[in-house]
């Protein structure tokens, strides 16, 4: 499937759209720059479609199906020109790859577009690993630190790309601690964190206790939602850094509240 969308590489470099995700777009724009740098290092022309907004997952997961369909159409339209769509989040990538086609099960023309988009969409780590990413020189401040890699539930069970992330971190020479209970949710869950705050907090605190136990001084993940959930609950001054920043060597360390 993927090669069908690859133009002749000798003439023009293939284009990759960065689907930045609403969280990174609004709260951690530096993740976007790190992604651009990483994807460009593979020889792709990177573009950031300006009409992208949000994948529609908040509405979809709340059962607002009609609204999710309308939002999905907006994204499909914004992303149709590109050979690849790279998403620095298992959650949003999973929405496009697994759930867009379900939303259009009864709507053949859109279903075809949704399936095509799904086939061209990759979670960032999977994309980098499959395309043979090689690290540059990581900046000194992170290589000193030991990181806990939180494999988000979405990367684990939606995009099945958590091992790509692990491989990339090792390739980049990042020192990783052995985090226990990696398959357990951090308690974010989108609107869940707001609807059931005490429960969400307890789940996050348990994840942070596991981080503490493995003696890591920072947490990285391919999903910013998880990182923000954990950062807002952290009491011990851990660093929180998206995997894109860590791989690109642009992690500014902790974001002071």
């Amino acid at each position: 499937m993927k090669n069908n969308h690859m133009p002749d590489q000798a003439k023009t470099p293939p284009t990759a759209a960065l689907y930045i995700t609403c969280l990174a777009n609004s709260l951690r724009p530096e993740i976007g720059h790190a992604c651009v740098q990483l994807v460009e290092s593979l020889g792709f022309k990177v573009d950031v479609p300006l009409d992208q907004t949000c994948c529609g997952q908040p509405g979809y997961n709340a059962g607002h199906r009609d609204q999710a369909i309308a939002v999905a159409k907006t994204q499909i339209t914004a992303l149709q020109e590109y050979d690849w769509v790279v998403v620095p989040s298992g959650s949003c990538a999973g929405m496009i790859i697994n759930h867009y086609p379900r939303l259009f099960a009864q709507d053949t023309p859109w279903l075809e577009q949704a399936i095509q988009l799904a086939a061209r969409t990759r979670e960032l780590c999977q994309f980098l690993d499959e395309q043979g990413w090689q690290p540059g020189t990581p900046s000194k401040n992170h290589t000193q630190q030991t990181w806990a890699y939180h494999t988000s539930c979405s990367c684990r069970r939606e995009t099945h790309s958590h091992q790509h992330g692990h491989r990339l971190l090792l390739k980049a020479g990042i020192r990783l601690a052995h985090l226990h209970d990696q398959e357990v949710c951090c308690g974010f869950g989108g609107t869940f964190a707001a609807k059931f705050d005490p429960l969400s907090s307890r789940m996050g605190q348990k994840k942070l206790a596991a981080v503490e136990q493995c003696s890591a001084s920072g947490v990285t993940s391919a999903d910013l939602g998880c990182l923000l959930q954990l950062q807002s609950l952290d009491r011990s001054g851990l660093s929180f850094c998206h995997i894109a920043e860590l791989l690109a060597g642009t992690c500014a360390g902790e974001h002071k509240p």
Binding site: I20, C22, A24, N25, S26, L27, P29, E30, H33, A34, V36, Q37, E40, S41, V48, L50, D51, Q52, T53, C54, G56, P58, Y60, N61, A62, G63, H64, R65, A68, V71, K73, T74, A78, P135, T137, C153, R156, R157, E158, V184, C185, G187, G189, G190, F192, K195, F196, P198, S200, S201, R202, M203, Q231, S232, L233, D234, A248, T250, H255, P257
Partner: protein, 468 residues
């Protein structure tokens, strides 16, 4: 714990989080289940194939449910048993009582049955003047404590050892007997229950699988209490539900293969028995009467609906043990007899959507339940469909309905969306700590503007140019 039913989930879960004894009980027991299941599955060559076989057997059975149930009935009647059909819990309870009265029975010993819990059978029997004793250790403990089960296979998992000892001190004439070790507690229960087994007129058990080809029921336990309940009293009543039927012994064994491994991490439960009728002339023991009551209670309506996959459930409890919500709040927070992911789907389906509004929402959609479900039930998707029903029936809290509606509208209008992100960045930058939950520090946006604005104002603005 106060119990306001499933609609009280939010308050009940907060209470559970603040209950140190409950937290300690949950912590110990849960990690054991997870570890044992993982070990049991690692020892099987191809667990995925076992699962696929069990699911295929179940799928076929559900596709032929009516004929298989008829075949089950015919064969069971041929064996000398009786089949009773119950549309509702009330009907099931009334049938049990009619059988008991006909047999001039007063004392009842019970094996563990989730159908019994679903029908609140004990309360009905007790209020009609019958003596009922639960014989599963966990069920016995919660019967003393007058509590519902908090787990579908480990009903007293929320109790610490000290709490159990306390209950026994309160209700048993202990005399010289001590309760220091776990073996003391088990011995104590055994002493009391042995008497109950020997004096009971009726034994009630559940069933794990019904076999159409020979009219028998399969019953698995680890304490042997099910077998004593089934064979010692003169009447054996099986309370079960229609979706448990499969075509053959072969199919039943496929389901039992995944059941014990998923539930307790055993290859087989300690006791796996098949009962097919009353005592025959050549039998050394067994009951004079054998009754099977088949409960529907909304299940036939699930057939052919988007929720049909829920009928695959074999009540192994794996989804509870692996659920980050269940493992933090325990079963009572869910407000009815079925907790965890399977309960969050079943409770609204069996009791009515409006009686359990928080349950489908109380999930992060982490997906672990679906991953460990041996019967391939897409639990997160079913929960999402229940959320959709709440949306369609306008049963969501208004602020969520409007808030998410607004966000969806913004997401379809990129310019308005960009403007709203600018606004939310400004708000988040200044919103004071006290506006946040006290255990959280506020999330502050970084950078000067959104990423899309930075990109629009010059691609790579702020980034390290080009390949590394």
């Amino acid at each position: 714990m106060n119990n306001n039913g499933a609609n009280g989930f939010a308050a009940q879960s907060r209470q559970a989080l603040d209950d140190p004894a409950l937290q300690s009980a949950l912590g110990h027991a849960q990690s054991g289940f997870v570890k044992k299941r993982a070990q049991a599955i690692a020892m099987v060559d191809d667990f995925e194939r076992l699962k696929a076989n069990a699911q295929a057997a179940k799928r076929q059975a559900l596709a032929n449910l009516a004929p298989l149930l008829e075949q089950f009935e015919q064969n069971l009647v041929r064996n000398g048993g009786e089949v009773h059909w119950a549309q509702s819990p009330q009907e099931l309870n009334a049938t049990v009582m009619a059988i008991a009265r006909n047999a001039n029975a007063r004392r009842i010993i019970k094996g563990k049955s989730m159908i019994g819990e679903e029908c609140d059978l004990n309360a009905a029997l007790e209020s009609a003047g019958f003596d009922v004793v639960e014989s599963d250790l966990g069920e016995y403990i919660i019967q003393l404590a007058k509590e519902p089960p908090s787990h579908i296979i480990a009903p007293a998992i929320h109790k610490t050892r000290q709490q159990v000892a306390e209950l026994f001190r309160q209700y048993h004439a202990l005399g010289e007997r001590g309760l220091d070790a776990i073996s003391d507690l088990v011995g104590e229960a055994r002493t009391v229950l042995r008497e109950a087994f020997l004096t009971a007129d009726i034994g009630i058990t559940g069933a794990n699988v019904l076999v159409a080809e020979n009219g028998s029921i399969a019953l698995v336990t680890n304490e042997g209490n099910g077998d004593l309940s089934a064979t010692l009293p003169r009447v054996h009543i099986v309370v079960t539900s229609i979706e448990k039927v499969v075509a053959s012994m072969e199919d039943a064994s496929l389901i039992l293969e995944v059941l014990a491994r998923s539930a307790t991490g055993q290859h087989m439960s300690a006791y796996t028995s098949f009962y097919s009728g009353p005592r025959q002339a050549q039998d050394p023991d067994g009951p004079d009467q054998f009754h099977v009551i088949l409960l529907d209670n909304g299940r036939s309506e699930m057939l052919g609906s988007p929720f049909e996959p829920m009928l695959n459930c074999i009540k192994c409890g794996a989804c509870l043990n692996h659920c980050p919500v269940y493992t933090n709040v325990g079963g009572h927070a869910y407000g009815w007899v079925y907790p965890g992911p399977m309960g969050s789907v079943l409770t609204p389906l069996l009791q009515g959507l409006e009686t359990a509004l928080p349950l489908p929402n109380a999930s992060t959609f982490c997906g672990r339940c679906e991953e460990v479900c041996p019967m391939g039930i897409p639990l997160p998707d079913l929960l999402r469909q229940l959320r959709a029903q709440q949306y369609e029936q306008t049963r969501e809290p208004r602020r969520w309905r409007w808030g998410l509606g607004l966000y969806s509208w913004l997401s379809r209008h990129p310019r308005a969306f960009a403007w709203s992100l600018r606004l939310s960045r400004a708000v988040l930058r200044w919103v004071p700590q006290r506006a946040w939950p006290k255990q959280r520090t506020p999330i502050r946006p970084s950078g000067d503007t959104t990423f899309l604005e930075q990109w629009r104002n010059g691609p790579k603005n702020g980034a390290q140019n080009g390949p590394q």
